[in-house]
């Protein structure tokens, strides 16, 4: 009989054991009767000889190997009864745990959705992302020549799917632009995507440049822009001014590859139709930004594919030496995940750290609750020990009780987590396929969290209960210290983030953005050469200057606040590295247009090369004691000619930003945008700018964005992070307050008699408050010290995770500590105040 059968057939086994022992007793009694004893005497003699039958049975059960589980079930039942008898305690403990576990589970759920769960596509295990690396270069994209070559020749990859995000386009002339993505014709069929209306791309129709221009739109856009109208399918729609047939709508839960959430999909083969003049596919010079995924052929592994693709790439190198890197290697990784970015590690680590701190506070709180409750149960424990309960057995039973609490906490955390996750997904407009419902990983995680928190923080109070010791002071102090320390870190980090947000909202960014408009003609996309681009930009500038209300115009590579890509560089000076330098390429009018003050020297002149202008903080960092004018910036012969004011143009929340400005470079001419300063941004001016810029070249539809809107967007993003951390900080502080309140109440309750005597003897109130407060002052102070030290220690991580949040901003530290200490002080005073209202005579009489 195996172990499980024995467990299930427990009742049969019990009755068999009964019968077996009864037979033995009867047989023995019979023999005694045969030996001449009376039946009654024989029975009694046998019973005496047998001793404790119950104990004997217990030992038989033990040797059967199922005893521990039977005990566990019994303990669980008993534990449930004990918890039900103390609803106040149970509710508080479960609520505290649910908060702590809920926050961790929420964080885990988000991570699970983004990185662990595969996106719902056909056979996700065989979808891979293909990227390339070399010792000098890291790029997410793959050249189109390689893609075309892989498609022709690779055998380990059965299908290649390419996708490229395009510049936002207007649909039907509506100025609210949408995000297009150019994809290969097999994109939807390989992913097993279904249409909510019409059909999606297929190789028969959309695989050639000559086929009818077609587009597919997302379910979201269909609902928002067309009200879900099915008659839109088959209609001709203008996309960026180009007519195309709307052939269908993706299903609501369609999952696209990568993190982009496009509104419309266009065939990659037709890019030169939609983006007039585009030479992306035909001329390797204009290549770039095409992301590549593949489906592994059956039986092929990712490493085999990487090896084969590398071989193919090496064959291409002699043909395209400018496009294929030296020592290029191909990276093939699992591709069917929403999020695979490895650069986010510091941010993830920080978030995990903060979330775990909330859990620590919750657990410490539970520890405190258990201790206080243990004190109330001394009588019960004493009784059970006297009734013969073994110490180990008792310990096991109490631990089971804690585990039950932990699991109930996990159970209560799941709905909390579900609601919060649903809200978070709605708030961030996450893809429709992401569901807030917990999957097995989330369940396991929540259960494990409950198990470990109950085990770790229940262990010591339980041991002390069993050993019936009074000395819980050190443990209490540890609990206070842990709670205060963890809340302290969270509060300070929240303070840092809130300050960073405020700084951003209220401090001057170092340039006047309010009346500036950016115009991006996307020349490179449209296949402009440097010469053509130069000519276009000159004409555009001239045309814009004639618009009434436009004051100045300047060319810039990376327009502040509305730039999509942020470039950063670093230089080595005096043996140390100066990082967070934002380079930009600008024309002479840039500083005037942006109202960035010139502090020393001069700015660059029209057409001048070999000069750079640097910002004040960069000048100070690189040449602390010298005049930077005339110094060589690099070994390419660029000389510093001027110093301008600091700006936070590239990343608003980075107060450490340093800038270096280069003159417009010939080879980057097609990437330039134009900035214009107006006497006031109004719809009238915007319209005039639009018609002026479209009048230069009728093929182009430049995106025109006031810097104001970019500013608002950045502020919203930083505010979002700050509010999340503030909620975490608030939660931890709340838990710490509840915990301290409980512990001080407990301390006061324990010493009611002492207090009464002191009061009766005429002790002053101040003296008594001091006596109680002293017990908590040390752990609170230690917690604060540890919290401050801990935050300072991770300040580097904070800075790397959240740019521009200075890790050592004293005001944030002081502010957070002041709030924390004030709140804790109040929490401690409440029970002490209550203690003064005690009836001295009654207490002393009672004792």
């Amino acid at each position: 009989m195996n172990w499980f059968r024995r467990l299930w057939q427990r009742e049969r086994m019990e009755s068999e054991l009964d019968r077996e022992l009864r037979f033995h007793m009867e047989a023995q009694a019979e023999e005694k009767v045969r030996g001449g004893m009376s039946e009654e005497d024989a029975r009694r003699a046998v019973r005496l000889q047998f001793g404790g039958v119950t104990q004997l049975k217990e030992e038989c059960r033990e040797s059967r190997g199922t005893a521990w589980l039977e005990d566990f079930i019994q303990d669980l039942r008993f534990g449930a009864r004990v918890l039900a008898r103390a609803p106040g305690f149970s509710f508080t403990a479960i609520a505290v745990l649910a908060l702590g576990i809920g926050v961790t589970t929420l964080a885990f759920s988000l991570y699970n959705l983004a990185a662990l769960e595969t996106i719902p596509v056909h056979d996700p295990a065989r979808i891979v992302r293909i990227e390339r690396r070399s010792p000098e270069n890291v790029a997410p994209d793959v050249p189109y020549v390689s893609i075309a070559y892989y498609r022709e020749h690779a055998t380990t990859i059965s299908a290649v799917m390419a996708a490229m995000q395009g510049s936002p386009v207007a649909i039907e002339g509506d100025e609210k632009r949408v995000e297009p993505e150019f994809v290969t014709a097999n994109y939807f069929s390989e992913l097993g995507g279904e249409a909510a209306a019409g059909r999606l791309f297929d190789a028969a129709h959309e695989d050639s440049e000559a086929s009818n221009p077609a587009m597919v739109m997302s379910y979201r856009l269909w609902q928002q822009r067309f009200g879900g109208d099915p008659s839109v399918v088959g209609r001709t729609v203008l996309v960026g001014g180009k007519p195309a047939t709307m052939i269908g709508v993706t299903a609501r839960n369609f999952a696209s590859l990568g993190t982009d959430q496009p509104d419309v999909w266009l065939p990659l083969t037709q890019i030169s139709y939609f983006v007039e003049g585009s030479r992306k596919l035909s001329d390797p010079k204009f290549d770039g930004n095409i992301l590549l995924w593949g489906r592994l052929a059956s039986g092929a592994s990712a490493s085999q594919a990487a090896e084969e693709l590398l071989g193919l790439t090496n064959q291409l190198r002699p043909l395209y030496p400018d496009v294929i890197w030296n020592q290029e290697r191909i990276l093939v990784t699992p591709g069917a995940h929403f999020f695979t970015e490895d650069g986010a590690a510091p941010f993830l680590a920080l978030m995990w750290g903060l979330v775990l701190l909330v859990l620590v506070t919750a657990c410490a709180n539970l520890g405190g609750l258990l201790t206080a409750r243990g004190a109330g149960r001394t009588h019960e424990i004493e009784l059970r020990v006297q009734l013969g309960a073994g110490r180990l057995r008792l310990f096991r039973q109490l631990l089971t009780e804690n585990l039950l609490l932990g699991l109930l906490g996990s159970l209560a955390a799941l709905p909390l987590c579900f609601v919060a996750l649903r809200e978070a997904l709605n708030y961030t407009e996450a893809p429709e396929w992401m569901s807030a419902l917990p999957d097995w990983r989330v369940f396991t995680f929540a259960a494990a969290m409950g198990f470990f928190s109950a085990l770790l923080f229940g262990l010591l109070p339980t041991l002390q209960m069993v050993q019936r010791k009074k000395g819980r002071r050190l443990w209490n102090q540890f609990i206070v210290c842990a709670q205060v320390g963890a809340s302290c870190v969270l509060m300070i980090v929240a303070g840092l983030l809130v300050r960073a947000t405020l700084h951003m909202v209220y401090a001057e960014p170092g340039f006047a953005y309010r009346d500036v408009v950016s115009i991006d003609p996307e020349l490179g996309d449209h296949g402009f050469t440097a010469v053509a681009a130069q000519q276009y930009l000159d004409e555009l500038n001239a045309s814009l200057r004639n618009v009434p209300g436009v004051e100045t115009a300047a060319d810039v590579l990376s327009p502040p606040l509305v730039n999509r890509v942020v470039m950063m560089t670093s230089v080595k000076a005096n043996g140390r590295r100066i990082s967070m330098i934002y380079p930009n390429w600008v024309s002479a009018e840039f500083f005037e247009t942006m109202r960035i003050p010139l502090l020393r020297g001069r700015t660059m002149r029209d057409g001048e090369t070999g000069v750079v202008v640097i910002s004040r903080s960069l000048a100070i960092a690189r040449w602390p004691d010298e005049d930077p004018i005339g110094k060589a910036w690099n070994d390419k012969g660029d000389v510093v000619v001027g110093v301008v004011g600091d700006t936070r143009a590239m990343e608003m929340n980075n107060s450490d930003a340093k800038e270096v400005y280069f003159p417009v470079a010939k080879d980057r001419m097609a990437e330039m945008s134009v900035l214009v300063r107006t006497s006031g941004v109004s719809s009238d001016v915007l319209r005039k700018i639009k018609s002026a810029s479209e009048g230069v070249d009728s093929r182009l539809r430049p995106s025109i964005t006031p810097l104001r809107s970019g500013y608002a967007k950045t502020v919203t993003e930083v505010e979002r992070v700050a509010s999340i951390v503030s909620v975490l900080g608030g939660l931890a502080t709340f838990l710490a307050v509840v915990g301290l309140l409980g512990l001080v109440s407990y301390a006061v309750a324990q010493r009611t008699k002492e207090l009464a005597i002191r009061l009766a003897l005429g002790a002053g109130r101040v003296e008594i408050v001091a006596a109680i407060a002293r017990r908590f002052a040390v752990p609170v102070a230690l917690g604060v010290a540890l919290g401050v030290a801990g935050t300072a220690a991770i300040s580097q991580l904070i800075r790397r995770a959240l740019y521009g949040v200075s890790g050592v901003d004293p005001a944030s530290y002081v502010g957070a500590l002041a709030v924390l200490i004030a709140v804790l002080g109040l929490a401690a005073m409440l029970p002490i105040r209550r203690a003064f209202r005690i009836d001295i005579a009654r207490i002393l009489h009672f004792e």
Binding site: E16, E20, A27, Q55, C60, S63
Partner: protein
């Protein structure tokens, strides 16, 4: 109480060996096993029920014994234990190791006696 020899405690683990040895002859119920052990040991060993039954259940759990309900000579139902194949192997192994141990102990004891004379 019969006999002049004092009862003594069985060394740990020996009871299992005795049970296996007794049951090896024929299937037996718990009472008969106790009787037989007492009888073979010439009344020196009185196996207490408190150690017999846990030992039987343990051996059954380790699949060295198999149990079956059957009728006794007096027609009453009792649980009969019999040796399994695994039990037989175990008995052989334990008997051998026990013999080696006693031989060795005997050697030492004799040697000691020789010294003194």
């Amino acid at each position: 109480m019969k006999g002049s020899l004092p009862k003594f405690e069985l060394p740990q683990g020996t009871l299992d060996l005795l049970i296996l040895r007794v049951v090896a002859q024929e299937p037996m119920h718990g009472y008969a096993i106790a009787q037989r052990i007492q009888q073979i040991s010439r009344e020196t060993l009185q196996v207490q029920q408190g150690s017999l039954y846990p030992a039987l259940h343990r051996l059954e759990n380790r699949k060295l014994l198999a149990a079956e309900w059957g009728a006794t000579e007096t027609g009453r139902e009792a649980k009969f234990y019999k040796l399994t194949e695994k039990g037989r192997v175990q008995l052989k192994a334990e008997t051998e190791s026990w013999e080696r141990l006693t031989d060795m102990v005997e050697l030492f004891l004799k040697h000691g006696k020789g010294d003194r004379t």
